[in-house]
Structure formats: C-alpha cells, structure tokens
C-alpha cells in the first residue's frame, strides 16, 4: 500500500509503482495511459485481493454452512459496508450490480416503469451517456412516461434556468451525470436535488465519472439513487453499485428473479428477501466485490482530496498544453474547478480516429469517438471527439507527451 509522505501532494511515483501495466511499452514508447474515463488501471492490492479470494476463500455466498461459504459471505457483506462508508451512505441501500449501466437500468425498470404513471415526466440532460438515456427511453415507452431534457450551454454547463422550469410537476424523476464523461463538466447535483425535491421528484445520479475521482457523499448530495462502476475506480470489471434509499427499495418490485432474492418460493408465487438482497438474484461476483472494497481502501489511503487536487492540476496543465499546440477545438468548461479530468477536443479537420491512431503510434492511449454520447455530439455539432482523461497515476510529463504527439498529428496532416 502506498505510504503518503507529503500530506499536501500526491506522490505519483509511489502510486505508479502500484500499477504494473504502467510499465508497459507500446512499440518503442512508454505507455501514456490517458483513457481512465473509459476504464482505470488496477493497483497490486486490488489484483492481490481478487487472487487471494480464489486461492483461499472461494465459495458461494449466503448459502452453505461451511467455513469457506461463511468467509465468502463475510467478504461480500464487508465489501458492502466498506462501499457504503466510501460514499457516506446507509449500507442497506447498497445493491451490487455489474456496473453503473445495470444500476440505472434497475432504477428505470423497477422504479420508473413500475411506480410512475402515464403522463409523469422524467428529466434528463443533453450531456448524458447512452447508459443514462436508453434505460429511461425503454421505461418511458413501456409506461407512457414523458421525457424532457435540460440543455447544455455553449460553455459546456447545464442550462439551469431550463432545469428550474422542468423540475416541477409533472416531473417525477431527474437522472443526471455528476460529471460529464465527454466535457468533464461537474454538474451542481446538490442544487438540482434541492430543486427536484421541492416539487416531489426523486433524483438518480450517474456517478460513474465522479466517485472514482473526488469525495462523494450521498448524505450531502441528498440524492435518492446513485450508480457507479468499480472498473473506473481501480476495481475489477464486472462489479458496480447502485445505492438507493432503502425505503424506495422497499417499494420497488424486484429487477431480476432467481436465487438469493427470495424468502419463499411456491409454485404459484414467491415472496422477496429483505432489501438490498431482493435486488441481487443469482451468484454475485464476490471476488470483484472484494476487489472493489480494497480499491476503496487504496483510494482512501492515497486520499481522495489529494487525488482530486492532482487531477485538477493535471487538467489545468492539459488545457495549457492544448492551447500551446494550437489549432484545436476544446469542448467543455475552460477552467477548473468547474470541470474534472476528462477533456475532449478536435484537431482542425482531422478525424478523431486518425488522431487516435497517430497518438497510439506515439504510445499515447486516448479515446476517440462519440463516447456513447451521440445526442451531445449533435449538440456540439461534431461526429466525434478525442478525449484525454486522467487519474491519480498520470503525470505532468505524460501531458507533455500528449502535446508532442499532437504536434505529430499536425505534421502528418499538415495543419
């Protein structure tokens, strides 16, 4: 585990030593991994936890009476407690899912589709990831609900005047990204929750891009649902979390049926297990849950305030470097702290995939494409963008390497 020597700043060399993949080379170049908004790399303590589980404690949970079964169940339930503490939320609201997408689908299917009525309105924003759009479209079609969208202003922030108009009856639910995966915009969730609650609407927060990068408190946000993925926060792929107010979970019918989620099954009907187990059908990914708990420990040992400050410093540097490269269109808020460490841009008339290919030749991994945000791409009037996204293990020198690689793009494409 990384020991912190300087309380003010993050010791990035110490952190990097915990991530084996960062030592890789791409061709003859060192890997510069700037795609953490897609998925983060994994530190040794997390990899060890997963391995340890399968070496020593593997058994199914909530079932047998044998020692391994008890150990596995304890690991799984301790992980639930650890994650609740990590997001400062009551633990009986923590539902294990595969990822943020599944968490949002659960809310759309078991809350919106089942508990809302025809004519009720769901409010989303133009900057949402497809995972926070399509589930609501499915629910709306099924249950006769109306969808409305808060627009994105030219500076990459939300149109809060429009939000105020929309967050009143017949709106019953707002679902919103805490931080945009494309623009980096950090949305004023607390303020929007207050506006929604004033008129009796509940709020679901897509926290996939915020929980990994900054301290997030469910109690302080006062939201009703919050979903995030483990794999973007140093944990394995395949584990995610939906936190929901336990009293809402009580009212919601099950999402998936099967083992674990029942109290009693008869041939003609069944009754449900207590919350949150009612929403966890089948054998869960215990190893990944254990890995997620260790990821929480890891991020807290480094310090989430410190991680956030480090990313803001990298973002500031990246914005300067992009400005110095010149001839780029940069999207989203122009300054920190209104934005986090995901920055989208385009290079003159060069298609983002061509930019991505040239950057990869220089060892720099970025995302190029629509980022599962096609409506936002249309709002920005682009087909796609290049996105550089940063995490605790990135360095200012890596941002400089990106800048040099962008000069190579300009040289090849003569712009």
């Amino acid at each position: 585990m990384t020991a912190i020597t300087d309380p003010a700043t993050l010791d990035v060399d110490r952190v990097r030593a915990d991530f084996p993949v960062l030592a890789r080379r791409i061709g003859e170049r060192p890997l510069v991994y700037l795609d953490s908004a897609a998925t983060s790399q994994k530190p040794l303590p997390v990899l060890d936890a997963v391995e340890r589980y399968y070496w020593y404690s593997n058994a199914n949970v909530h079932r047998g009476v044998h020692t391994l079964g008890t150990e596995a169940t304890e690991l799984f339930e301790n992980a639930r407690r650890r994650i609740a503490a990590f997001i400062d939320a009551p633990e009986d609201g923590v539902v294990f899912v595969r990822n943020a997408t599944e968490g949002i689908n659960l809310v759309a299917a078991s809350y919106a589709r089942e508990l809302l009525s025809p004519g009720d309105r769901i409010v989303l924003t133009e900057m949402e990831h497809h995972s926070n759009l399509v589930p609501w479209q499915l629910a709306a079609e099924h249950a006769g609900l109306e969808l409305a969208y808060i627009g994105v202003r030219d500076d990459g922030t939300l149109d809060l005047e429009r939000a105020a108009e929309l967050l009143r009856p017949p709106t019953r639910l707002l679902s919103i990204a805490h931080q945009s995966n494309v623009l980096g915009t950090i949305n004023p969730v607390r303020q929007l929750v207050e506006m929604a609650h004033e008129h009796g609407a509940v709020v679901c927060v897509d926290a996939a891009q915020s929980v990994p990068h900054m301290p997030v408190s469910v109690r302080s946000l006062d939201c009703d649902f919050l979903a995030f993925s483990g794999h973007k926060m140093c944990a394995p792929m395949g584990i995610g979390v939906l936190w929901a107010r336990p009293e809402l979970l009580e009212r919601m019918p099950p999402f998936l049926g099967g083992g674990s989620m029942i109290l009693r099954v008869d041939l003609d009907h069944s009754t449900w297990n207590s919350v949150p187990h009612k929403f966890e059908a089948g054998t869960p990914d215990v190893a990944s849950a254990a890995g997620l708990a260790v990821a929480c420990d890891y991020l807290d040992a480094v310090g989430r305030d410190r991680i956030h400050a480090h990313e803001l410093s990298l973002t500031r540097h990246l914005l300067d470097v992009l400005d110095e490269v010149g001839g780029l269109s940069v999207y989203g808020p122009g300054s920190v702290p209104e934005r986090g460490g995901a920055v989208s841009f385009n290079v003159a008339d060069v298609h983002p995939h061509d930019v991505g290919t040239i950057l990869d030749r220089e060892g720099v991994a970025v995302r190029a494409g629509h980022h599962c945000c096609q409506p936002l791409m249309r709002r920005l009037d682009v087909d796609a963008t290049v996105r550089a996204s940063m995490y605790l293990y990135n360095t200012h020198a890596e941002i400089d390497a990106l800048g040099a690689a962008l000069h190579e793009v300009k040289r090849v494409f003569r712009v």
């Binding site: 298609h351 995939h353 061509d354 290919t357 629509h370 087909d383 796609a384 090849v412 494409f413 003569r414």
Partner: protein
Amino acid sequence: MAVGFSSVDDELFREIILDHYRNPRHKGGLDPADVTLEANNPLCGDEILLSLRLRQGAVEGIAFSGRGCSISQASASMMCDSVAGKPTDEASATVQRFRDMMLAEGGVDGLGDLEALQGVKRYPVRVKCALLPWNALLQGLADGSAGENRP
C-alpha cells in the same frame, strides 16, 4: 523504398490519401441512381452512402456521400475513381483485387493509386475503415446486375 513513396509520406496517411480526404472525387448524389446503399460502422460512426447507375453492363455513374475518418472517406473517393465508367465485370474484379490486398496476401497489380491504402494493413483495427465503401460497392454491383438482368 517503393516507387511513388516519397520520403515525407506517412506510412499510413499517404499524401494521396490526404488529398482524397480533403478533395473527395465523386462526392454527392446521383440522379437518377439505380442502386443506393448505406454502409456504416456503428462502433466508430463512419457512414458511406453509395449511389450507382449501371447501364449496358458498365458503371455509368457512381457517387458517394458520408462522413468519417480519412481512411474510409479517401477509400470511397479512390474506389469511385477506379471503377467509374468501367464494365461491371471489371469493377467486380477490382473489388475482388482490393479485398484480396487488404484481407489476404493479394498484391497491388492493377490497383493503381489504390495501392496507397496498403499501409492500412499494418493497422488491423483500421482495415474495416478502408473496406467500408467496398462492401457497399460489392453489394451494389450484385443488386444492380440482378436488376439489369430482369426483363
């Protein structure tokens, strides 16, 4: 070094590819068109709309519209250049030769400027970009000949 490969040329983004990307030939629609085909790659968003007019066993007219990366758009422009006005069997043979070059060990004989796209082979994830318009043409020639043969 191969003939026509200038020292300033990038191995992938060759001069002629950048030229077709920025100054596409046969770009637009076709009126009338016998066959129009849409090819797209939902993963990266590349789109090609190909229009064909086949008369008396030849490609009398061909045009494309679309959006996407330099490889897909230049490939479409160069493809239209290479088959415009040609007998359909010759066009089909060009499609076959191009696919052989990109997907198998086929050489560049008879492909002319299309040889420039050979560099894409070193970038496996980009091969689908180069092939996108060709898949549309392959389908279009098949659909068009079927139409022409009808009484």
